[in-house]
């Protein structure tokens, strides 16, 4: 790295992902516009990881997003958490290939990025495809579900969470890592002063480039109905409650 490291974190602003299913509605196959906009949850883990690396290695940290200008105030939270710079490519495609091509353009413009971090998956499309696609477009190594990163002898030592445990990996060169959540990268809450300072930081806006979409047509988006009717058990006598529960579970052959 030659003592200087530039980290880019990809962040996406999404409709409130904590809206319960019962209150959720669509308009034109997308979440209704009345929901609060916020940073995706894994994206915040990625930003936190980026800020920690910045602090550890005196790196510089740029946030890159593809989306709407209206979301700039939300993206400024990443600056308040510790990033220096924000680049927004303005566009509104949901196609993974189009998004990746535009993020590539922004990264190419920066020129000197050593490491690109992204959330494991966005909190609206639930897809986990954009970062891997981007990595290949950039000709870089992609590693998903990364929990820890260390810079070591000009390369990277990485922990990856798997279905059965974790793996320690090592590689030299530039990479794109998708970040999963662990207790150590729960996002920090920025100080009020940092939030005010972030409001003054310039945002670089870049126009979208033309690129090919994938051969996928969206036919419909629907909200599935949850038709479970819950039978509430009385709790006056806890001993009776649990006996009733076990009897019912056995009667209906669930247990």
């Amino acid at each position: 790295m030659g003592g200087y490291m530039h980290i880019a974190v990809l962040a996406k602003v999404v409709p409130d992902y904590e809206v319960p299913a019962g209150d959720f509605e669509l308009s034109d196959n997308r979440a209704h516009s009345r929901y609060t906009r916020m940073m995706g949850l894994y994206d915040e883990n990625a930003i936190e990881t980026g800020v920690q690396l910045k602090e550890k290695y005196s790196a510089s940290l740029t946030i890159i997003s593809y989306g709407a200008e209206d979301d700039i105030p939300v993206l400024r939270k990443a600056i308040a958490m510790g990033a220096e710079k924000l680049v927004l490519v303005t566009g509104q495609s949901d196609d993974a290939s189009v998004i990746a091509a535009n993020l590539k353009m922004a990264i190419d413009n920066l020129g000197d990025v050593d490491l690109i971090l992204a959330g494991q998956q966005s909190a609206d499309m639930d897809r986990g495809v954009v970062h891997g696609t981007l990595a290949e477009m950039l000709g870089l190594t992609f590693i998903p579900q990364v929990s820890k990163i260390e810079s070591e002898n000009g390369g990277w030592k990485i922990s990856q969470l798997t279905e059965t445990g974790s793996r320690d990996l090592q590689f030299n060169g530039k990479g794109v890592f998708s970040i999963t959540s662990i207790p150590e990268n729960v996002p920090r809450i920025p100080a009020v002063r940092a939030i005010f300072a972030a409001k003054k930081k310039p945002v670089e806006k870049v126009a979208e480039v033309e690129s090919n979409a994938m051969g996928i047509e969206e036919v419909s988006v629907e909200i599935p109905t949850m038709d479970s009717v819950c039978e509430f058990l009385p709790v006056e006598d806890v001993g009776e409650t649990v006996k009733t529960l076990l009897t019912k579970l056995r009667e209906e052959r669930y247990l």
């Binding site: 891997g132 994938m214 479970s228 039978e231």
Partner: protein, 294 residues
């Protein structure tokens, strides 16, 4: 349609992908990852012990191109997530991840908005790469084995230094018929022992919500939900779990959900078959007492 499965040698995962492949062809081809025999019958089989996705991307993309596969199936797993995007970009292929439903003519369904919505897509260009969400398709029984040719991998970019298996006692979470799961409402790591006790008596397994994992109360391998494990037990006990849609996405196929929660407004009661509105600290010891006496 000419179909390729790429998966770690693990009968259930392979079985699910074989089931899915029947939507597209009679007998698929396979790239089996890992050592040992390749279970099941395939037209053509390749094998490599390499399981790091970054190292597999070039060889798999080349094979898809050379053999002209129209459909490529991965599990929605660490390996599948590492392969899907890069392989798709290399081949300008279409990719749909986390598929939960398949209809004729390359129409596929997948969740959106943390499982609150389901989108249906028609794939109009091949090759199409699909990652299949676990536990949504019944695994096919794999009889016999297929002799495999070695898949040649170029000089690996990423090297494996160490692999740590999270130690799990008893039944694996994804195979358990009873899952006892704890969330943020547990309030701390200590009381997970109550869940463990119940799981042991019922020969089940302990799970956790993302909230409990983020707090460090449970190992990440125990996380259930759209970005954790997908389970489909007979009974799922949700203890102190609010029931965010991202969590419910992991238990969509659980036959019976029992919710124990202090908050009667908790979303989990909308998914539950039986609900107990109470402090779990009262209910769980009582449940364990009765079960132990039996």
């Amino acid at each position: 349609m000419k179909t390729l499965i790429v998966e770690i040698i693990e009968p259930k995962r392979l079985g699910e992908l074989v089931t899915v492949s029947k939507e597209f062809c009679d007998t698929p081809d396979i790239v089996a990852l890992g050592a040992g025999d390749v279970p099941g019958v395939y037209n053509k089989a390749w094998q490599t012990e390499e399981t790091i996705s970054a190292n597999l991307v070039p060889a798999i993309a080349e094979l898809i191109q050379k053999e002209e596969y129209q459909v490529v199936l991965f599990s929605a797993s660490t390996v599948g997530a590492g392969l899907a995007g890069p392989v798709a970009a290399k081949l300008s292929a279409s990719v749909v991840s986390e598929v939960i439903g398949i209809e004729p003519d390359l129409v596929v369904r997948r969740p959106m908005y943390g499982g609150k919505a389901v989108a249906t897509y028609k794939i109009t260009a091949t090759p199409a790469i699909l990652t299949i969400r676990r536990k949504y398709f019944e695994p096919a029984e794999l009889e016999g084995t297929t002799a495999a040719e070695t898949l040649t991998i170029a000089e690996p970019l990423v090297s494996l230094i160490a692999e740590k298996q999270e130690k799990s006692e008893g039944v694996p979470l994804e195979d358990a018929e009873v899952v006892v799961s704890g969330g943020r409402g547990m309030g701390g790591p200590d009381n997970f022992s109550m869940l463990q006790e119940m799981a042991e008596i019922l020969k089940g397994a302990v799970g956790a919500s993302r909230g409990a994992v983020d707090e460090g109360w449970a190992a990440p391998t125990l996380q259930i939900g759209q970005t954790g494990k997908i389970v489909a037990p007979g009974v799922y006990f949700a203890v102190g779990i609010s029931g965010a849609s991202q969590h419910l996405a992991g238990i969509a196929n659980a036959k019976c959900v029992v919710a124990i929660n202090k908050d009667e407004e908790a979303n989990i009661f909308k998914r539950a078959r039986f609900g107990i509105i109470a402090d779990y600290k009262k209910i769980m010891p009582a449940l364990n007492n009765v079960l132990r006496e039996e």
